[in-house]
């Protein structure tokens, strides 16, 4: 179990880095505007970063344990279908999660 000191350090580091990323560009705005490589990264990165993060959250799922796999597959299909249909992040996330939780709780041995 993480200690309070460790948790505080994790929160502090995350907050400091996030704030740095949000504030520093204002100080070095003009070189940044001119960096074509960074701009290219900023435009192409999001879809890949989000995909990697989505895959990373599923790393604990055993591919052979059907009780774990079925709720994940159904949840993923629901998230994609809901989002393509509604384009509303809240509906998609909450709908898919509710379906996943219901299945996972029902199948939990």
């Amino acid at each position: 179990m993480p200690t309070p000191l460790y948790l505080a350090a994790a929160v502090g580091i995350s907050a400091a880095i996030t704030w740095g990323l949000r504030a520093l560009p204002f100080a070095v705005l003009s070189p940044l505007r001119r960096s074509a490589a960074l701009r290219d990264l900023s435009l192409r990165m999001p879809v890949g970063v989000m995909l990697i993060l989505a895959l990373y959250t599923l790393r604990g799922v055993e591919p052979t344990a059907w009780r774990a796999v079925v709720p994940v597959v159904v949840g993923l299909a629901a998230a994609v279908a809901l989002h393509l249909r509604t384009r509303n992040a809240v509906v998609s996330v909450i709908g898919a999660t509710a379906l996943h939780v219901a299945l996972a709780t029902a199948l939990h041995a």
Partner: protein, 252 residues
């Protein structure tokens, strides 16, 4: 103490944030429930939400701290997950905020705050209206997380699979990003990087995958430049930065 002008600005800020708040609050609730399900005290939900104040990173951070991940890896994760914020400076109207308040305005420059001011919409807004908008967004988020955590600690039912909210969130963000920019090699590079990372460094899969993916993008950029075809034309790029995928609840 609030004169009529400030009150008018805050009323405007409340109207500006209403639709985004409707999505921030329930997502905050799910973060709060997850915090207590992870085994942390409920008030950590408030701390995470108010201090880190970067939605997707907070969900991710929860899993990382539960596994007592080394702080260096947390730092790199924060850097990579939130790197996109660097580009919000290109269009956020910071000069309209008084110099002393800029510390807060940059701290609270979230995806949603960026979305609400993007595209020149906030060009005529006063500093108070911008700050009021940002403060309200932070309150919706932190309040949602606190409510979720308290409710989660009072209701003894254990729901299995609640952490799937994070997976669903990233899937949704990926779809939004894809819609903003359909570039097939990019998701393939990302999936490939992740596969290699899992096989090569199972304990550090996230970090390795992000580094590999960034290297792939830079290599592709260098190749395209050598062939003399600028991947993103200068003028188009400037407009596209304003049209970056805007995650979570920015749909209007």
């Amino acid at each position: 103490m609030f004169d009529a002008r400030v009150r008018r600005d805050l009323t405007a800020a409340a109207a500006d944030t209403a639709s985004v708040g409707l999505s921030l609050f329930p997502l905050g609730v799910s973060l709060g429930v997850l915090v207590v399900h992870t085994g942390l005290e409920w008030w950590w939900a408030t701390v995470f939400a108010a201090v880190v104040y970067a939605g997707s990173l907070e969900f991710l951070l929860l899993g990382l701290v539960a596994a007592v991940t080394p702080l260096a890896q947390i730092a790199v994760t924060a850097l990579l997950v939130n790197f996109r914020h660097v580009f919000y400076a290109l269009s956020f109207p910071l000069h309209q905020v008084s110099p002393r308040a800029r510390v807060y305005a940059t701290f609270a420059l979230t995806d949603e705050a960026y979305a609400l001011t993007a595209g020149g919409r906030a060009r005529a807004w006063s500093g108070a209206r911008i700050l009021g908008m940002q403060a309200l967004l932070q309150i919706y988020w932190a309040a949602g997380a606190t409510v979720g955590a308290v409710a989660g600690s009072l209701i003894p039912v254990t729901l299995h699979g609640l952490e799937f909210a994070l997976t669903a969130l990233f899937v949704v963000l990926a779809l939004d990003a894809w819609r903003a920019r359909r570039d097939m090699p990019v998701p393939l590079m990302a999936a490939g990087s992740f596969a290699v990372a899992v096989l090569a460094t199972p304990g550090q899969a996230l970090l390795t995958a992000m580094i590999l993916f960034t290297a792939c993008l830079l290599a592709r950029y260098a190749l395209e430049r050598r062939k003399g075809e600028p991947s993103v034309p200068q003028e188009a790029a400037r407009e596209e930065v304003a049209a970056l995928p805007v995650p979570v609840g920015a749909e209007r």
